[in-house]
Symmetry: C2
Amino acid sequence: MMDLDDIDRALLRALSEDATQSAGALGRVVGLSQPATWRRIKRLTDAGVLAGRRLDLDREALGFGVTVFLGVKLATKGRVSLEDFERAVSAIPEVQTVEHVLGLYDYRIRVVARDLADFERVLRRRVMTLPGVGDVEANVLLSEERRPGPI
Amino acid sequence: MMDLDDIDRALLRALSEDATQSAGALGRVVGLSQPATWRRIKRLTDAGVLAGRRLDLDREALGFGVTVFLGVKLATKGRVSLEDFERAVSAIPEVQTVEHVLGLYDYRIRVVARDLADFERVLRRRVMTLPGVGDVEANVLLSEERRPGPI
DNA sequence: CTTGAAAAGAACTGCCT
DNA sequence: AGGCAGTTCTTTTCAAG
């Protein structure tokens, strides 16, 4: 854990909006020179706070109009079955995220599909046949808003 | 919706791993020259498929060790109450994503907190006091795996 | 599609306050 | 820490094959 000042926070917030901004442009925002801004970004990266830059893909534009969140309860939860389940679920191409959670469900899975018929195929042939799978609950994504969160 | 060839798919997959790669480096991976690779990336960006680049922040390193997924059922779901709820939930700084979903819950919310005591504060003072909120279910994140998904 | 080149801009380095 | 000046690399655009 690292302690950040206000300028670091402003940089992370600005980069959260658009990670393509240059050190010079960011410097103009926070009132620093290009090298000073660059050094701060490097410090944050070396400290592991800034873990990388990821693509933001438009799944609709790619033809995947349906996103579904699945809550999965395992029938048997030994150490082996967790690993078996994780390995099998990671092999499903339609799976975007696998979250191991504590609560009403054991796993939360984000699945994308071309349409509802395609989703049904993934659910029946891929998800319901996973090793150790028990109850499955589904929530279809209608809209999504992302926020920077606390920094 | 746009149709992509194998090289476009390889580019998106490589960029999904690490969005900082240069057009030249990507070209070496997919077997194209730097200008050809750059033109393809520009084409994908202009088509809206590549919607942007986002930061990958390490919340643990920032001192936010607890991530919780909340499933929220609204007590009253008129058009007005949805908008009231969304506006209020977006104003909570600890909220990272707000997903309007169809199913057992009305909203799925991703919340980060410093620790479980901090999360309890957010839950009691911020979440439970949201306008129109009914049942709330919580799942604590243990571990997470992200995959490129189908491209 | 390729190669080659050129201009602009961004990333990175060293030195100095 | 930050600024300045300079170097290297990437981006971005072009022309020609």
